[in-house]
Symmetry: C2
Subunit: 417 residues, 2 copies
């Protein structure tokens, strides 16, 4: 690909040319040897400019194609991923004393999460490499986004899920025509069986940490934020962190834009984890390597006890002068209501964990009043209605008569004051 | 509003000027006296053109503001409604022998359904009229879209639901901060109590059949289809029908575009109902007025035994030279899988009923091979995961070993051949 110069191992700094089947540094191995994609920014600037984007009506992430690790010509999967709305949150911003607050609603992607972005890149690359099968192990947003994107182009998707995977999530995969392998064991069993099967069959490997191109798909969320803000860099970008790949991707957007000369400064990144599963926050605070942790939170999409991309994420937060913060499950549920009530955006628990972290960071003075802040909502609330029920409270029950209604509403208004 | 000339009663043809509080014809009453909005097409053509739209990057239904019954200046609710993707369904179209098949995925609206369009119009009008409360009775997509749109602008929403309303749907309303009145009785009880309360309090009435402006919001789905097809009119537009308002709105788009001189012919409309609840299909076939029917289908969003806008819908189908068709619940569930597998689009049962009807209409020769067809998917599959589970089938269960996987996959491949 003419826009990529090389892949560089984040551990040993050795460089490689991109080629099919090369996912991680062969010297450092698949845990430490995560690769980073490096671009030819002159090439990018010859292909794309702020002015050409301003005239471009393509309402998807493909508007940034020269910034992406895919062939610059040829077919792309058709699902309309990205170019999701960035809302100015006037009321919530004012409540928090922020100068400007923006909400990026990535739950409006085709299968309901930010993961549609990396999956679109995976499928585009699989098509370019002539693969006929794409595979991953996941029960969550990565799986549904991969299954949807594969269906849109007629690729076969093989998804490995642990036996305990929720029926609803499995159903969505089956609706998309994926071959779903329910591994009668733990998530770890499913992961290892998928790795062995992928190696045996030569399937295209959609695994966000191992596959270096997926972080590049994730970065489109912040390329969009930058364009939607008129290339004015915010002071803070706030998002929930599980595996670490989304943090790595969100940060990469700003780094690429600065290297390409499109922006002149970088934002700070605030990573938010759940108290019950926060190996990255712990490592950030202690200045140590990540150690495994229990997965004790209802925000399932960020319940990752063994993050697979810790180094890229921690470097992003540190290099940005940012921070990591933890929120409780109660704070996550409360943020779901705060966000819905003040903006009309409905996020899943992990999707609103960023908002919960923002509220706490303002309270604790990490984010100062007067700041310009962007918070990412990474998944749709319809993905997890069970937890919305926990967050929602109760309706007002009345008998079917105007009199009963009058009494109930009077009591309700009093109760509110 | 300078773009509207008058409202005309579809029963007695009397005309009225639009004013706050006027929803139906005072002479014919709220059941028969549905009003139709008439426009000044010269005004529209002075404000909007194909060329101005081609240069307009606004990715929402507001790009058609001069075609809408709202003030042409002033604030609009910020949620990004509409401009949803229109996908060319190559594989499914070829399978069916169609010349071209397109899928309009309206499940990607902010709260997950086409109903976000009329609710956006309702909230825009409520703001213009200075209302502080908007209300409706519904447990479904109308309610969630109204609650979301109201939250986005800080209006209060009061939603009346029957006692049996599913907890998940009530939760979504509460997350959006709506006041949810759970009426301990039937849906009919909830409807009547809401009507009385709306009259007593002077709340803004968001009821798609009674409020004549909401159909106009719905029409934006087909204004978009027309623009996305480069103003080439398809032969057929296929959609599911419950109350009849969506059919009325979809048809109004083509009528408006022809009256404004933007297109030179009209498509045929195919309305699809569930076998277990098909009062409109029956009336269409028998040439009679609509009579009430039981509500016996899993496609809850179109389970409407007493449609509130039957005349507008039946006229649309008849005037277009179109037809009505029924599908079974089994056909709806099967269509969910067909759509997901061939296109990566996941619709709720009512949302894919249109697709089920298309498959049947092609089989029965109602839609001829070689036709150019657009099918609307009106709601997101994540709205109703329970039925997706019924449609989905079972995953392949294996022990966590490569050998077990090999055996299972071999059997699976054989089973498929």
């Amino acid at each position: 690909m003419s826009n990529i110069t090389r892949l560089r191992c984040i551990n040993c700094s050795r460089t490689y040319q991109p080629e099919p089947g090369l996912y991680t540094c062969p010297i450092c191995g698949s845990t430490d040897g995560i690769l980073d994609v490096e671009y030819d920014y002159d090439y990018i600037n010859r292909s794309l400019s702020k002015a050409s984007l301003a005239a471009n009506r393509e309402p998807s992430m493909w508007r940034y194609r020269p910034f992406l690790p895919i062939a610059q010509e040829g077919p792309l999967p058709p699902l309309q991923v990205g170019w999701t709305p960035l809302y100015r949150a006037e009321r919530l911003g004012a409540e928090l004393g922020l100068k400007e607050l923006y909400i990026k609603d990535d739950g409006l992607n085709p299968t309901g999460s930010l993961k549609d972005r990396p999956s679109a890149v995976a499928v585009a690359r699989a098509l370019a490499e002539g693969a006929r099968v794409v595979a991953c192990s996941s029960t969550g947003n990565a799986a549904s986004s991969l299954a949807g994107a594969a269906a849109s182009v007629g690729l076969k998707a093989v998804i490995f899920v642990p036996g305990r995977a929720p029926q609803g999530k499995v159903a969505q995969l089956l609706i998309f025509g994926a071959t779903v392998i329910s591994v009668q064991g733990s998530y770890e069993d499913a992961f290892h069986l998928s790795a062995a099967a992928i190696a045996e069959h030569g399937w295209y490997n959609r695994n966000a940490a191992i596959n270096p191109y997926l972080v590049e798909g994730k970065k489109t969320v912040c390329l969009e934020v930058a364009e939607q803000l008129g290339w004015q860099v915010p002071d803070w970008v706030v998002l929930a962190v599980g595996d670490g790949c989304t943090m790595a991707g969100a940060w990469k957007a700003w780094v690429d834009l600065k290297k390409a000369g499109w922006i002149d400064r970088l934002p700070r990144m605030l990573g938010v984890q759940a108290e019950g599963c926060c190996p990255l926050t712990r490592a950030f605070r202690e200045g140590t390597r990540v150690r495994p942790m229990e997965e004790n939170t209802l925000a399932d999409s960020i319940a990752v006890g063994v993050p697979r991309n810790p180094e890229k994420a921690l470097r992003a937060v540190r290099d940005s002068g940012g921070s990591m913060i933890n929120v409780s499950d109660q704070e996550i549920l409360a943020a779901m209501g705060t966000l819905g009530r003040t903006s009309g955006v409905f996020g899943e628990p992990a999707g609103v964990a960023g908002t919960a972290g923002l509220l706490k960071a303002v309270r604790e003075g990490v984010i100062k009043s007067g700041a310009r802040v962007v918070v990412l909502v990474t998944g749709n609330g319809l993905k997890d209605v069970a937890n919305a029920i926990k967050a929602a409270g109760e309706p007002i029950r009345v008998a079917p008569s105007l009199e009963a209604l009058r009494e109930a509403l009077a009591g309700f208004e009093e109760g509110k004051n």
